[in-house]
Symmetry: C2
């Protein structure tokens, strides 16, 4: 994990980094309290399709977790997104990009993209946890839409994740995804699940089906009116409260003895 | 409104009262901060079927709204419940009482029971608002199950209600309730709507249908696993936060000039 830039604003230090992975470097951002030292809970922020690591909602959530809870938060560009976007797709509209990515995200290339994203996130978690200002402690996952499509397998398989905010994604029996029902059932950590009542991208029934599949004893759905990208801002507060409840507080450093 | 008893515990004064209404007196409880003076937001707590004004969840919510927010909260025995229970039903099990009440609550007697409950609540609101330690200010409604069945018409028609927690109730096109769709659509105040995913009393689809009907721009559904009466305790915190957001704070009294 190579730090490539560092900037501090209102008590939050943003570390831009690159993770040297096979085939392709993975760029990311780590948000930490200014002058942080010692371990703290960490939240992995996985952006949605066509978004990137510095999408406004990702930056806002990362900064607020640092400012309000003293947590660490990290985001990366997922495969085919942000700095990893193919040259041919730059300058396309959101809808054009959705079309261009369709095969890679939802078609034949889906499994490869998924496995690539899993590896990127595992190495990101390894690298960030190795830092003394993050450390090995409670870990949260936040991902809606594509961030939930990646989140279901990641949270299901990664024992270091303790709580997850998921949503804006789903499927049902008529659109089976090989093995995905099983992955969802294997998730047992607390989940906050976000649904948009008038979602034009993901059918409400499909999102409800995924919520029902989750194996977690503690899972809560928050559903609001509006379209796919219209999740109300107050759900940021709900996500913050949810992580605060399940990842806990930053331990106070032991007082150094007086000289 | 005749106060029949008064008791204070941990800063909360509980005023037992009787409202003299035609045909039948209505007993109720008003919770206020100890030594309260001046106006404050008020929450009407409508218990569920087979419950009563001092059901544990009603008392807990009333006390917490007083202790945490300095609000007033009021509960009454709804028709056929609590002290208004017919002699013949005393000592019956919850299920036996559900059966015994079926006709009055859901059958031919439904309209009469509903209108009676509406009148009881309107007069309760009139009487409590006339007190200087409550006053005419923001009003919330909290009612699940039967408390939602009564809440839909009450909140729809009563312009003094500013926000409502509803849920654990619903219907769909195959079980039409005359005029109820219209009442639900006419609700425009913010609503927090509670759903239990494995509700054995109210079908999930029916609850979702009612949520969809509500005319409120700001409405949020919180759904959790479990049966009808297993709403998780953390939803009490959510209800408190919701009322705090929409009913606001108690105004600080103007400082009396020094003598």
């Amino acid at each position: 994990m190579r730090i490539t830039a560092e900037a501090t604003e209102k008590g939050v230090t943003e570390h831009s980094f690159t993770l040297d992975r096979p085939d392709e470097p993975v760029p990311g951002v780590l948000w930490l309290p200014e002058g942080a030292s010692g371990p703290r809970p960490l939240v992995l922020l996985c952006h949605g399709g066509t978004q990137e690591k510095r999408a406004p909602n990702i930056v806002a959530l990362g900064r607020r977790l640092v400012r309000h809870l003293d947590y660490a938060a990290v985001a990366i560009d997922c495969p085919h997104h942000g700095e990893r976007m193919p040259e041919a797709e730059r300058g396309m509209s959101r809808e054009e990009r959705r079309q261009a990515m369709r095969g890679r995200l939802f078609g034949e290339g889906r499994r490869a993209t998924m496995e690539r994203a899993m590896g990127d996130w595992t190495e990101t978690l390894d690298a960030v946890s190795a830092r003394p200002d993050v450390g090995v402690g409670p870990v949260g996952w936040w991902g809606l839409s594509m961030g939930c499509a990646f989140g279901v397998p990641f949270v299901s398989r990664e024992p270091r994740v303790d709580a997850a905010v998921l949503g804006l994604a789903g499927w049902d029996e008529s659109s089976p995804r090989a093995g995905f029902d099983e992955l969802a059932r294997n998730i047992t950590v607390p989940v906050l699940f976000i649904v948009q009542w008038h979602d034009e991208v993901v059918r409400r029934e499909h999102a409800c089906n995924l919520f029902g599949l989750l194996g977690s004893e503690r899972k809560t759905m928050h559903a609001n009116p509006g379209r796919h990208v219209e999740v109300p801002l107050f759900e940021r507060q709900a996500a913050e409260d949810f992580f605060a409840e399940h990842l806990g507080k930053v331990a106070e450093p032991a007082e150094a003895p007086a000289a």
